[in-house]
Amino acid sequence: MTMDIELTVNGEHVRESVEPRMSLADFLRERLQLTGTHLGCEMGACGACLVLLSGKPVHACLVLAVQAAGETVETIEGLSESGAIADLQAAFHDRNALQCGFCTTGMMVNAHALLGDNPAPERAEIRDALSGNYCRCTGYEAIVDAIDATARKRASDVEAPA
């Protein structure tokens, strides 16, 4: 049995027929070839599969594709191509806040959501916000630094006269 779903992914209208059991993560990766959404645990513990569902970060492994019907989904590919996270990407690059890159896309989605909710987080708040994003390579400090630097840069850009 399959179900027809329509949704908006990275600004594009998508219509597909899916099995009800297909996760949003598998749908994005396998049907739409949006392989920037990664799977690390498939039980909502590692954060590698975070995407924005109607603007809120969700574990794409815990959401069924059919639950996203009628909604908007943004993945790392969409956030990257729209320029929405260009400064975060630059800060991660400058600070070497990624190694193997597998957790990175989920980290970016979460960091983007965090700075949307809390434009000036303390370091402890950043660490707390990342508590659902597992990274085996970096030891986290560079990631915290990069998010902190982005927040400060955004704040100073707002204050500075154009």
Binding site: G36, C41, T75, C135, G139
Partner: protein, 792 residues
């Protein structure tokens, strides 16, 4: 200019030593990484495995009929189908004399030997359909008695962990100096302790992944494999499946973490290759997290009894150590499961002048997942045991932890030095590191703060741990034992027709920045910017054969290989330029993308012009001129068998003595990895390594019940270190380049992991010292700390 008379690297090196960013990181930031788990090929099938539910048993029947009828299923294989195509593998090496291990093959044949042992393989159009069908495979297994505990497994009447074993002892060795008993007999002080180091596992965020693609028409096997050692797997697939090496291509694209775990041979990868060979179509296997926990190698699992003898002034006279390590039912292939314990007993007391030593190692089979090499092989155990005893001795003698170490480390002017365990150290810098750490952490102020807080019932602890790390191994590591594991690496560097540079090299990239440092090194030899050097890695068809990435050899061995290849090409370019410019090549040099006058730096011609003439107008060159703009070089370390590095770490913790919860407040590392090629990347290697050492010190443990079932085999139950629990890590450096190479670089990838746990263990015990409590087991869980305090 010739290869011999080039100036030192430092003098000619505008990019070596600079904090260049990783260009390849930008793909990952945009979601454009290409991991094996992303690869989809036409007609590709997906594999899933039926695994043994019990640790030990005899297979009575496997009924696959229902599974074969399940939607989407193409084939179901058992041992009878796949194992005959594969020559069995045995995880022994000649230089570990007397070691034994049973031969292994792809799927369990008559017996299952650990909970998770693959028994059947289902191939279907999707992974979900393959998993559905796995549920329909009927396994009838008669449960047997499993060996779970290593000490019990060594008793005479214990059941054997695998068929064909005379005993459960895989390997035993004793290292000893002549006077060790006399040293203990004459000692003023002897301190001792029994230590337990839990099993943990790599938990790379990308699980093990492989896509095998056999094209029967061209008899070509291509394996896209998430591994750090593609050449090793090319050799294994060729030999074990009877294929010509040239017909096997292994490609390692982006790898989502490896840390040693992905260089071992696994049943599932061999099954995937065997299935593709049989079906003539691509087969993909990506482990899910649950099966990663019961099939990826585990690490450590040691029980150590140790004692240390000291004279009245606190001089360490000797150590005696007995390490029993438990490795699963087989020794891993092709590196064995003995290397870890071997390094444990050889690294004991490594920072110290300690003249005498006895170390006994027993490697024991049991019915659990195999253990083997993982980041910082053996180091954390040796370091934790040694440093815990040093702290204990300091307390006994009333010495400060810095003072007792200052009295005992090998002095910086005492090199070369041979350790009691037989390691030869070219030049280390313990005294400089000790002094630098003390200043970096403001030790005296921390002690004052600790004392003040104790008055208020807040229990902080400070722990320090010097370490020695093994890097840049030569053939002594594996090659002499008969393993087909390369100690050398190779690089091909070429100047393109446009005057840019490409370097194909055998060392591989897993995010540590290998490609970036290689571009920096090559750039400096050819007078270009690193961005103009395109580095290719991880493909056995397009790069020269070599050892790739393990045991911290990327910078020291790979970097030296790239340097030598770059210099060779430099010589070729200058020779050609000399002929074009009618100049003596010795008067020319390369800088800023040009051939320049060596003395004045005046530009003589762009590299692009060399490329253009050599490629499109060789007819204009003088007769006999060599227009070759490609240079190949291979390099194997010689001189010292390993380049040892050293450093020291410190941990500041706060222990809640009511709950047993440890908070990591801060961590410091002073590290000496020789010449630093890229300080940005070195520091992040250290930080990542530290956290991989702190995880098992406090959280990570593969828990088993008495029947051999792993009871926390999911990422919801197995605790990994997360951002909110980890401290900021302050890093300092001392640079002592090795004289064995032109580059002078040593390794750094394992330094953080080597001593972080030891520092944390000493810090927790320092915090517990007012209660006369001590903990000698990792991970230091709240329950274990409460038990140490006598609260439970």
């Amino acid at each position: 200019m010739t290869l011999q008379d080039t100036n030192t690297a430092a003098a000619r090196a505008p990019h070596i030593g600079q904090a260049h960013r990783r260009q390849t990181a930008r793909r990952h930031l945009a979601g454009r990484g290409r991991f094996v788990s992303d690869i989809v090929l036409p007609r590709m099938l997906h594999a899933a495995f039926v695994r043994s539910p019990m640790a030990r048993g005899r297979i009575l029947e496997i009924d696959t009929r229902d599974a074969e009828q399940s939607p989407g299923v193409v084939r179901v294989f058992t041992a009878r189908d796949l194992n005959p195509s594969c020559k069995p593998w045995t995880g022994t090496l000649d230089h570990f004399a007397t070691m034994v291990s049973a031969p292994q093959n792809i799927l369990a044949e008559e017996e299952v030997l650990w909970a998770g042992h693959p028994v059947a393989m289902v191939l279907a159009r999707t992974r979900a359909e393959a998993e559905d069908a796995c549920e329909l495979v009927m396994l009838d297994i008669e449960e047997g008695e499993a060996c779970v505990d290593g000490h019990a497994a060594l008793t005479g009447d214990a059941p054997r962990a695998a068929p064909g074993l005379d005993s459960n002892l895989c390997f035993q060795t004793v290292l000893e100096t002549m006077a060790v008993d006399a040293a203990f007999a004459g000692a003023a002080h002897v301190v001792e302790g029994d230590f337990t180091f839990g099993r943990h596992t790599a938990v790379t965020l990308e699980p093990r992944s492989v896509v095998a693609d056999f094209d029967a028409a061209s008899e070509q096997l291509t394996v896209h494999h998430g591994t750090q050692t593609p050449y090793q797997f090319q050799d294994i697939y060729a030999r074990h499946f009877g294929l010509a090496e040239s017909r096997v291509r292994v490609i390692a694209p982006d790898i989502g973490g490896s840390f040693g775990m992905k260089l071992h041979l696994y049943n599932e990868e061999m099954a995937t290759v065997a299935a593709s060979l049989k079906l003539g179509r691509p087969v993909k296997f990506v482990a899910d997290r649950l099966e990663s926990f019961v099939s990826d190698i585990h690490a450590r699992d040691h029980k150590v009894s140790a004692r240390m003898a000291l004279d009245a002034e606190g001089t360490i006279l000797a150590m005696e150590v007995d390490d029993m390590t438990q490795i699963g039912a087989f020794s891993t292939y092709p590196r064995t499961s003995v290397a870890e314990g071997n390094q444990v007993v050889r690294l004991m007391g490594a920072p110290y002048r300690m003249p005498d030593y006895r170390g006994r190692l027993s490697v024991v089979f049991q019915n659990k997942v195999q253990t083997s090499q993982y980041r910082a092989v053996g180091h954390p155990i040796a370091c934790a045991v040694t440093e815990a005893l040093v702290d204990k001795a300091a307390a006994r003698l009333g010495l400060d932890p810095f003072e007792i170490r200052a009295r005992n480390v090998v002095p910086d002017d005492a090199y070369p030095f041979v350790s009691a365990t037989g390691y030869s150290f070219e030049k280390l810098s313990h005294e400089a590191c000790l002094a630098k750490l003390r200043e970096l952490m403001d030790y005296d102020a921390l002690r004052a703060e600790q004392a003040a807080l104790r008055e208020r019932g807040i229990y902080r602890g400070i722990g320090i741990a010097p370490f020695v790390e093994i890097t840049n191994p030569g053939a002594a590591f594996y090659g002499v034992g008969g393993a087909r594991i390369s100690a050398q690496d190779g690089a091909v560097v070429r100047l393109t027709p446009s005057g840019e540079v490409q370097c194909a090299i055998s060392v591989t990239e897993q995010g540590q920045g290998t490609e970036t440092i290689i571009s920096q090194i090559v750039a400096d030899q050819l007078g270009v910017a690193p961005e103009q050097v395109k580095v290719t890695t991880g493909d056995t068809d397009t790069t020269p054969s070599g050892g790739a990435t393990w045991a911290c050899r990327g910078a020291g061995i790979g970097g030296e290989t790239a340097l030598r290849a770059g210099r060779k090409l430099q010589g070729q370019i200058l020779a050609l330029a000399g002929q074009i410019l009618q100049s003596d090549p010795a008067d020319l040099a390369l800088a800023d993308g040009h051939v320049v006058d060596a003395q004045s730096g005046t530009r003589r011609m762009p590299l692009a012009e060399i490329g253009r003439i050599a490629t499109y107008r060789p007819d204009t060159l003088p007769e006999g001129a060599d227009n070759s703009l490609t240079a190949a070089e291979h390099f194997a370390p010689s001189g010292y068998p390993f380049d040892f590095t050293n450093g020291i770490q410190a941990s500041l913790v706060e222990v809640d003595v009511e709950t047993g919860i440890v908070r990591l407040l801060k961590h410091w590392v002073v590290e000496d990895c020789g010449r630093i090629i890229n300080p940005l990347l070195v520091d992040e290697q250290i930080r990542g390594g530290v956290v991989q050492g702190l995880g098992p010190a406090l959280f990570e443990e593969c828990l088993y019940d008495e029947t051999g079932q792993m009871t926390n085999a999911s990422l919801a139950d197995y605790l990994v270190p997360m951002a909110c629990e980890m401290p900021d890590i302050v890093i300092g450096h001392v640079e002592t380049p090795t004289n064995d190479t032109i580059l002078g670089a040593k390794g750094v990838g394992e330094a953080g992991t080597a001593a972080a746990g030891a520092a944390a263990l000493n810090a927790v015990n320092d915090a517990l010292s007012p209660f006369k409590a001590e903990i000698r087991q990792t991970p230091m869980t709240p329950l274990r700390i409460l038990a140490a305090l006598g609260h439970v």
